[in-house]
């Protein structure tokens, strides 16, 4: 060693505390769940109402934060999505009672609701706030506690949104720790928590790798993977209305929803019509050169060009070197024949919608089927009035939602159709998932079924089930309306007590 040594290595490796903190959050959630799992319906709805209101009030603010943190999407559209995950979501499920015991006198069965316990939820960067809102609402309605792990690119906004809802829930009587969010997410952290025996179910929304990891974790998981939606435009469709749907859907939040149309296919004879209609609806139809430029820009590197996710059509056009009018909402590259190998048929979370045309309906369906394999189990759209073809298309497509004459992004997610509003689209067996529906609170509850012998004739109505639920938090201590930090200085409290006593004594004096 020399006499004077300068050390370049860091003096001290401070161990990562985020994993340990996340584990503590899970334990805290388990405590919250212990109390919350017995709340009655009234108490549950009060909390749900409270987070809906809180979420609604700051939907716009969080939308702005999300866009500025992640660079994805459009503030106005995000605000709308956030709002949809408050009252709209609550109203949809308001009458679905997942709390009160169910009595089926005819079948001599009583069912008791048993919430999962601690839900571990992953949220994507593309819809951070809406997903937090949505999953928190699902947890509350099903009487579960939830720990959300946001995408690292959206962690600040997600944490704020979750804290905001948590405070609202607690103000309405929820135990503390019911809604929590990991501050410093990372892949090892997520893997550790997913594999932990302290959580009861995972709701994974995200990329294929993450979803597969959720399923391999050893814990029950509701995993939902990517989509690659195809819209089929039948010659029977009203092209003007269809084009408007497509452009609206594809430009909505710059197309970051996985339910967004990725490819639109029609029949050769209808292509000209559709192109014209799309153009009037605000789309830029690319010529061959523009199409090549877009393909190069979006898929020229390794895989999809990530910086394009959630960006506007104009921004992408500029990057790709395509000249478009300032009013352009969607870019439409055209691939003349529906081959499988064109990269433009892959999923694109940006307002780029590939148009192609088939010689006949059969070819269109075959192509749609293959394209959808890349986002299997997801969604598709059908435009037109021919119900025979609609049924045929739906029967053959490996998807669990076919949205008819509506924008696919809002339609499949339940906002422009009567499907359950969701940010977790079950991709079912076709997508190697355990749920094929839009995920809702009912997926987070199992029921204990008390089943009598077939020939028994017990009067089930006379059985007292009132002890199964409580009217809310049984004790003041866990009720965290009180601040978690320092209690009121007891010096102050003593002083107050003294003042009150004095006051009382004065009153007595007056009376005498």
């Amino acid at each position: 060693m020399s006499e004077h040594q300068v050390f370049n290595t860091p003096r001290l490796e401070v161990p990562d505390r985020s994993l340990s903190r996340a584990r503590m959050k899970v334990d805290r959630a388990a405590w919250a769940s212990r109390y919350f799992r017995n709340f009655n319906r009234k108490a549950v709805l009060e909390i749900a109402e409270s987070i809906a209101e809180a979420g609604y009030n700051r939907a716009g603010e969080f939308a702005e934060l999300a866009v500025s943190e992640t660079g994805y999407g459009v503030v106005e559209h995000k605000k709308l999505k956030n709002q949809l995950c408050t009252y709209e979501l609550l109203n949809y499920y308001r009458d679905l009672d997942l709390v009160t015991p169910r009595v089926d006198a005819a079948r001599q069965i009583i069912e008791l609701a048993k919430p999962a316990g601690v839900v571990f939820a992953l949220a994507p960067a593309t819809n951070p706030v809406a997903t937090v809102y949505y999953k928190a609402m699902l947890a509350v309605l099903s009487r579960n506690a939830i720990v959300i792990s946001p995408h690292p690119a959206a962690k600040k906004t997600s944490v704020l949104a979750a804290q905001h809802l948590a405070a609202a829930a607690e103000a309405a009587g929820a135990p503390s720790g019911l809604i929590q969010c990991v501050e410093e997410p990372s892949i090892p952290l997520v893997q550790d928590i997913m594999a932990s025996d302290r959580i009861n179910v995972i709701i994974a929304t995200g990329g294929t790798a993450m979803v597969r990891a959720a399923y391999s974790s050893g814990n029950p998981a509701l995993g939902v993977g990517p989509g690659n939606a195809v819209a089929y435009v039948d010659p029977s469709a009203n092209v003007a209305a269809t084009a408007k749907c497509l452009v609206d859907s594809k430009s909505f939040d710059n197309s970051v929803l996985c339910t967004n149309e990725s490819v639109v296919i029609t029949l050769e004879k209808n292509r000209g019509n559709l192109e014209r209609a799309l153009r009037s609806a605000g789309a830029h139809i690319c010529n061959e050169i523009d199409t090549d430029k877009l393909r190069n820009y979006l898929f020229g590197g390794e895989g999809f060009t990530l910086e394009a996710i959630g960006k506007s059509a104009r921004w992408i056009a500029e990057q790709a070197g395509v000249r478009v009018s300032p009013a352009t909402k969607v870019l439409v590259p055209v691939v003349a024949t529906p081959g499988q190998d064109d990269l433009l048929f892959h999923e694109k979370l940006c307002p780029v919608l590939t148009l192609t045309a088939a010689v006949d309906f059969e070819q269109a369906v075959t192509f749609a089927k293959h394209t959808t394999r890349r986002g299997a189990g997801h969604s598709a759209a059908f435009h037109g009035d021919n119900s025979n073809r609609l049924v045929d298309f739906s029967q053959k497509m490996p998807v669990y939602r076919v949205v008819v004459n509506a924008p696919c992004s809002q339609g499949a997610a339940g906002f422009a159709t009567h499907l359950p509003p969701t940010f977790t689209i079950g991709t079912g067996f076709a997508g190697r998932s355990s749920v094929g529906e839009n995920v809702g609170p009912q997926h987070l509850v199992h029921w204990t079924r008390i089943a009598y012998a077939k020939d028994s004739k017990v009067n089930l109505e006379s059985i007292d089930l009132s002890d199964v639920t409580t009217s809310g938090n049984p004790t003041a201590e866990v009720q965290s309306r009180k601040s978690v930090t320092e209690p009121v200085d007891s010096g102050v409290r003593d002083e107050l007590r003294r003042l009150i006593l004095e006051e009382l004594q004065n009153l007595k004096g007056d009376a005498q």
């Binding site: 003096r11 903190r21 503390s176 866990v478 978690v484």
Partner: protein, 411 residues
């Protein structure tokens, strides 16, 4: 066992054998201990809060391990980054204090506290409560029960006075002479079985001390570190002790460290002669590193919330247990995760401790009041383990009853 009796401590070995809890701890992890045969015990003794976060908490172990790549104990003569940072952090938890002085164990911190009070007042006498416990070194042992001082001829009845707990008048009568340097008291006397201070008692004591120029010292060795629901027990009673000491869990159960915090006025000796108290192992840098992390962990919202849940859970379930076993389980003393369970028999807690041990739970009776069981759950206990503790507790009660009955007949 034989070797332990032969070479280590025959008294302790035979005591635990007779008590029916001949435990030799092998592995330890979280809130679990395993004896040499592999039998698992849930630890509710925690050595008075030393294992507040459980045994070998992974985060703390990692801190210590990585600390070893850079630090050692350090040179106690010189300033150091670790000591300065830790002292600042501690003082921030108690803003009315000014300096943190480090030791290696609780008794040493008490020693520093008593010396500081003597320095600040230029008086010699120390008052403590009967059945208080402040450690076993020279000055600290003199404040405690005579069982521990007489045997070593360490009792100093002239300078060390003892008064009954929860009796402010008794305190006033000894302070009146204005020759007492300090009154030292555990915020909740642990070894006495956690009897709760009466409303206003501690505040009255502090006021009396100030009235007569005596320093008020809080021993927070068992009540500090969030165990009563706040960082320091005195905070919950609206006190501002002139001096307070903490130890045990401060080192996370993996590296011994203790601290004595003093106000600016009391700490003037540090200005006059900083080397007046010196300790090679006191405030070792590794200890400071671990201690710093312990305090940081205790301040996390997750931990604070967990403590509330554990507190509430045991408040609730002990009420139920008491109702179910009211024939001899007669009272619960609780503040935060510090609990004393009262049994209707002078040796009741010894029997319950043994019955719990047989049922896989380790909780120790109070040395100075064997009718009270010390029941000290950790701050990050999870809901399942808490439930299991109560289930085992319930199962152990009939056995405790049986032990007591047979004991009574023998007696």
């Amino acid at each position: 066992m034989q070797k332990a009796a032969e070479y280590w401590n025959p008294g302790k070995v035979s005591f635990w054998t007779e008590a029916g809890t001949p435990m030799v701890i092998d592995r330890r992890e979280g809130y679990f201990l395993y004896d040499m045969s592999g039998k698992r015990l849930i630890d509710l003794h925690l050595n008075g809060g030393t294992y507040n976060f459980g045994h070998r908490h992974p985060e703390l172990v990692e801190v210590l391990k990585s600390g070893l790549d850079y630090f050692d104990m350090g040179n106690h003569w010189f300033p150091s980054v670790a000591r300065a940072a830790f002292a600042e952090q501690l003082v921030n938890t108690a803003p009315h204090t000014k300096y943190a002085i480090f030791g290696a164990g609780g008794a040493e911190a008490v020693e520093i506290a008593l010396k500081t009070a003597r320095y600040a007042t230029k008086r010699k006498k120390i008052v403590s409560i009967i059945k208080g416990y402040h450690g076993h070194s020279g000055l600290s042992v003199a404040t405690g029960d005579e069982r521990f001082s007489k045997i070593f001829l360490a009792d100093q009845p002239d300078d060390f006075l003892q008064i009954p707990f929860n009796d402010a008048d008794a305190l006033e009568s000894v302070l009146k002479g204005r020759d007492v340097a300090a009154f030292i008291i555990e915020t909740i006397p642990a070894t006495y079985g956690f009897p709760m201070p009466n409303d206003g008692y501690l505040k009255a004591c502090q006021d009396l001390c100030h009235k007569y120029g005596t320093k008020f010292i809080s021993d927070e060795v068992q009540t500090g570190l969030m165990r009563t629901g706040v960082m320091w027990g005195w905070q919950g009673y609206g006190l501002k002790p002139d001096i307070f000491v903490c130890g045990k869990g401060l080192g996370g159960g993996i590296y011994p460290i203790s601290a004595c915090l003093v106000t600016e006025e009391c700490g003037q000796w540090l200005v006059e002669d900083g080397a007046a108290h010196i300790s090679t192992a006191g405030g070792s840098e590794l200890g400071c590193l671990v201690g710093h992390h312990v305090i940081e962990m205790l301040q996390r919202p997750e931990v604070i919330s967990n403590i509330k849940f554990v507190t509430e859970y045991f408040a609730q379930s002990m009420k139920e247990m008491m109702a179910r076993h009211s024939d001899f389980f007669v009272g619960v003393r609780q503040r935060g995760v510090v609990l004393g369970l009262e049994f209707d028999h002078p040796e009741g807690a010894v029997a319950v401790s043994r019955a719990l041990y047989e049922n896989g739970v380790w909780a120790i009776f109070s040395s100075l009041d064997k009718s009270v069981l010390q029941f000290k759950p950790g701050v990050v206990l999870d809901v399942d383990t808490c439930q299991e503790i109560i289930d085992r507790f319930d199962a152990a009660m009939p056995r405790a009853r049986q032990i007591l009955k047979s004991g009574r007949r023998v007696a």
